[in-house]
Symmetry: C2
Subunit: 212 residues, 2 copies
Amino acid sequence: MRPMTAARTSSPADRSQLGLRERKKIKTREAIRTATYALIKEQGYDATTIDQIAERAEVSPSTVFRYFPTKEDIVLTDEYDPILLEELRSRPADEPWTDSIRYVMREAVRTGVEEDAEVARLRTHLMVQVPAVRSRMMQSMSVTGRMLCTAIAERTGSDPDSLEVRVYAMSLIGGLMETSLYWAENDHRDDFASLVDRTLTVLARGLPHENR
Amino acid sequence: MRPMTAARTSSPADRSQLGLRERKKIKTREAIRTATYALIKEQGYDATTIDQIAERAEVSPSTVFRYFPTKEDIVLTDEYDPILLEELRSRPADEPWTDSIRYVMREAVRTGVEEDAEVARLRTHLMVQVPAVRSRMMQSMSVTGRMLCTAIAERTGSDPDSLEVRVYAMSLIGGLMETSLYWAENDHRDDFASLVDRTLTVLARGLPHENR
DNA sequence: CCATGAAATGAGAGTAGCTCTCAAAATGTA
DNA sequence: TACATTTTGAGAGCTACTCTCATTTCATGG
C-alpha cells in the first residue's frame, strides 16, 4: 500500500556499497522524478511532456521510458507492498487480525506522510485532478489488494482466492482510496491518520447511528 | 452501476418517434459498438485499431471519436446510474436501507446480465485482460459511487460528502468490482447474482467464521 | 593499464490514440 | 425549392509509448 507516500529511496548507507553503475541508475531515477515534480508544479500535469522531463533531467526521452513504463508511474511508483506484508506477518498471531490491519495501515500511512509530506500532498492532489493518475493509482491499489488477500488468508486459514476474501480486501482498498481523495479534496486540512482510523471503523462496523 | 451489463438501447417503440437525424445517430452508435465487439472477438482488444473499427462501421475515424471519447468507452459506456438511483428511491422508506441496496443491486445485475449475457461476459473478460478497460471501469464505478453517496445520504439523513458515507459507498463499489473480476476469472461458471449476494453479505457482516 | 564483454544510453523511426479545424454533405424547415 | 443547422469526412498535428541499432560507459581479468 502506498496511499500517497514519498519515494522510498534506498538509504545512503546502502548506496556507497553499490558499484558506480547502480549508483548512477539511482541518481537518474531520482533526477527524472525531481524534474517531473518540478515541471508539474510549474505547468500542471498535462502540459508537462516527456521531452521536457527528459531535457530537465538531462537524459534522453528513451531513457525516461526505460526507467518508468508510463508517465503516471513517474509520479506514483513505489514499492511498499512487501514492507506492508512483512509488517502484517510480524504482528502477534493472537491479535485479532482486523486490529493488525488497523495497526499496519496506520503505521504505513504515518511513515509515508512523514517521509515527505509535500510529495504526499502533490500525489493525492494529482489523484483528484488527473484521471490517468487516479486510474494508475487504483490499479496499483488493486495489486496491493491481492497481496492483502494472501496475508488475510494466511492469518485466517481461508482461501486467498475465495470470493469472500477478495471482496473483503478490495472493499478495504476502495475505502482507503476514497480516504486519500477525501483528504486531498479538503485541501489536506485533516490529519490523514485520523481519517484512516475513521475509515477502518466504518469498514468494520458500517455507518454509525443509522437504521441498518 | 453497470457491473457488466449490455447496452441499454432505447426501445424500438421510442425510436420511431424520433426524427430521421436522431434515429441515424442511434444506428451509427450501434454500428460502431457492433463493429468493435466483432473485431475484438476476432483479433483481441489491442490489435483492434480505431481505423479498423471505423472502416467496418462504415464511418470515418473522426466520427468514432465523436461518439465515444475513448476506445475503452466503446466497450463500456452505458448509463445505468439514473435508473439505479430511481429504483433506490422507490424502495419503501421503512425498509432497512442495507436491504434496499441489496435488492436494487441484485435487480440491476439480473436485468443487466439477462439483457445480453454474451456482451456481459465479453465485458468482464476484457476487464480482466485489458488494464485500460479495467481502469475505465473503475473510473465509471467511482461515478456510481458518488451517486450512491447521495442516495445513502438521502435515506439516512447524513451528509453525502462526509468521509463515512463516501468510504462506505466506495467500499461497496470496490467489492462489486472485485465480484465482476472474480466471475470472469472463473470463466463465468458461477451464477453472478449469487456472487453479488455473497459479496453484500461480506460487506455487511465481514468475513465469516474467523477470529475478528 | 589495457582489452574484452556487458550494460546503459541516445538517436530516430514508427504506431496509435486523441484533438482540432474546416469544408462538404445530409437533414429539417419555410 | 432555398436556407439554416446539424452531422460528417478529410487531414493535419500532438504526444505517449515501442523498437531497433549504433555508441558510449562501466566492470573485470590478464
